[in-house]
């Protein structure tokens, strides 16, 4: 328990110290998006990595969050924080209601159903022009602020987003180490055995689905208020797949892995500008190769590497043995 807390504290300290080491500019802006994507990847990982339930419709909750926040604040002049809370509640309720029939399905059928849900939401965002602005997007979303503090620079946005992201990570780590986390992992391993032990698998799956939707929705609200412009194309199927890739690359069931995956997939294109047209191919290859050779993701890879190094280091290995 304590070790886990120290690990998190170290991680948080590094995350919050990052802006001091880079001198502003573009990288900081990208890191804001890394924070948002971390929230989304952690949300998906709770569902996929712990409960073992796939979702290809995460972008829908993300989009709903962004649009509800955008519309409530811009069209109806609500306070952004109120709007964010209301959006989260509304999306949570929606996820809870559709969760029961959707999570009855398994495997491919679950993938297909969540995918279908994602597409339906995307179509609504695209077609309900009078409210959402349709395909050309929705602009003029106000920024966030507390009292006189307005989150209007990259640095301030960075701290806002990463405070949220770190909070989400901490809560997720706590959750996975609690009775609920154990029950979820139990469902993943053997649903029948878990149910025999009194775990209400169905309800728990719906609850974690809801939880994941609410986090995604919050990330969406943050996105809307940070970018101040939203359009449906950000929340399409391809983004759901991108999120899936982040989680898989980072490591199923590892919260820090999700952050790593989100950072990698958001930053990598920046360093590989030369790839341009090739990035879609690289994506596909990454998904296949990782699933085939490193199903535990990079985090597992690092652990294996670490174990290997320790074995090579006779002194330490000797002490351990």
């Amino acid at each position: 328990m304590r070790r886990e807390l120290i690990k998190f504290a170290l991680f948080a300290a590094v995350a919050l110290a990052v802006p001091a080491t880079i001198k502003g500019g573009y990288l900081l802006n990208v890191l804001v998006f890394v924070g948002i994507n971390t929230m989304l990847a952690v949300a998906l990982n709770l569902l996929l990595g712990f409960a073992g339930q796939i979702s290809l419709g995460q972008a829908a909750f993300y989009g709903l969050g962004a649009y509800l926040s955008g519309i409530l604040t811009t069209t109806y002049g609500w306070n952004p924080w109120t709007a964010m809370a209301v959006a989260a509640m509304a999306v949570g309720l929606l996820a809870f209601v559709i969760g029961f029939p959707i999570l009855k399905l398994k495997g491919h059928y679950l993938a297909m159903a969540t995918l279908g849900f994602g597409i339906i939401i995307y179509i609504v965002l695209n077609e309900y022009v009078d409210v959402t602005g349709g395909p050309s997007g929705f602009s003029g979303v106000p920024g966030l602020g507390i009292g006189n503090l307005h989150f209007d620079s990259d640095l301030k946005s960075y701290y806002l987003v990463w405070t949220m992201a770190l909070l989400v990570m901490l809560l997720a780590v706590n959750l996975t180490q609690s009775r609920i986390g154990r029950a979820l992992r139990a469902i993943h391993d053997s649903e029948v055995a878990a149910r025999v032990l009194g775990v209400n698998a169905r309800l728990l799956k719906v609850q974690v689905f809801t939880c994941s939707a609410v986090i995604s929705c919050l990330a969406g609200s943050l996105y809307a208020h940070t970018v101040t412009f939203i359009s449906p194309s950000t929340f399409g199927f391809h983004f759901s797949v991108e999120l899936l890739t982040m989680v898989i690359i980072g490591g199923l069931g590892s919260i820090y892995g999700s952050c790593l995956g989100a950072a990698l997939l958001t930053l990598l294109p920046e360093f590989l500008r030369t790839f341009q047209d090739y990035d879609i191919v690289v994506y596909g290859l990454l998904l296949i190769v990782m699933t085939m050779f490193l199903p535990g993701g990079l985090v597992q890879g690092f652990e294996m590497l670490w174990a290997g190094i320790r074995r090579l280091w006779p002194g330490r290995a000797g002490q351990d043995a």
Partner: protein
């Protein structure tokens, strides 16, 4: 305690169970035996809500429990173990038992995520209880091992500890001795008796005749989906129909 009334189960055109009735008395060990294909495991799966029955009724202390899902049964005090032990392989031995204590704790999402004090207290309590249960079945020294790495015999003990964690009033065991060597089987017999002494009613399906005859108070014999006989071990051993069923026609 547990009463089975005329359970019938039909798969497609095949009748797996035909009008089977018997009772397991409180505080006793009841054994269900029968040759392969007699329908023993099917019966267990029906009682524990994994398969659906075609006809019949099951009551637990007089209240109807037929067709309830497994998680509801557990809350009513009925738990089972599996023939091929179903452990949560990626978790530690201790954690496996802690999952068994799921119904004995009630912190919700919020309490867990924010580590509220009552959750932390509860977590400590669960951990201690789980450790005690591991001691009860005799594998306390393996608490931190990954369950997947346990030898089969120890895995069986873990599964029993995990089932005991839900504090059942009645425990159904599906071939607990399968895959155990004779020493382990002997230990198992002791453990089952110990479990009965704590006041838990036990029903077990078993192939190992020696074990069944040794520990059971009552034995039910199934053959080809029907109940063939019911009685004390002595009565069963002397029943000509049972002998015929096991040895084939003379």
């Amino acid at each position: 305690m547990l009463d089975i009334h005329g359970i019938t189960c039909v798969f497609g055109g095949l009748t797996a169970l035909d009008d089977v009735s018997f009772s397991a008395r409180a505080g006793e060990i009841t054994g269900v035996i029968g040759p392969n294909g007699a329908g023993k495991t099917t019966l267990f799966n029906i009682i524990t809500g994994i398969y659906t029955r075609s006809a019949g009724r099951i009551t637990l202390e007089g209240s109807d429990i037929s067709g309830l899902p497994p998680e509801r049964l557990t809350r009513l005090g009925l738990v089972r173990t599996f023939q091929n032990i179903e452990l949560f392989g990626k978790m530690s031995v201790l954690e496996n038992v802690m999952v068994g204590l799921h119904t004995r704790s009630r912190s919700g999402f919020i309490a867990c995520a924010f580590k509220l004090p009552q959750h932390l207290r509860e977590e400590r309590r669960i951990r201690e209880q789980a450790q005690e249960l591991l001691e009860f079945v005799g594998i306390a020294d393996l608490a931190d091992m990954a369950a997947a790495n346990l030898p089969f015999g120890k895995g069986r003990m873990l599964e029993i500890a995990r089932a005991l964690a839900v504090q059942p009033r009645i425990m159904l065991m599906d071939e607990p001795a399968a895959g155990l060597n004779s020493r382990e089987t002997w230990q198992l017999g002791d453990l089952i008796r110990k479990i009965r002494e704590t006041g838990v009613t036990v029903v077990l399906v078993e192939h190992d005749m020696e074990l069944v005859m040794d520990i059971c108070d009552t034995i039910v014999v199934l053959n080809l989906g029907r109940k063939l006989a019911e009685g004390t071990p002595r009565q069963i051993q002397e029943n000509p129909e049972v002998i015929a069923a096991y040895l084939g026609d003379e």
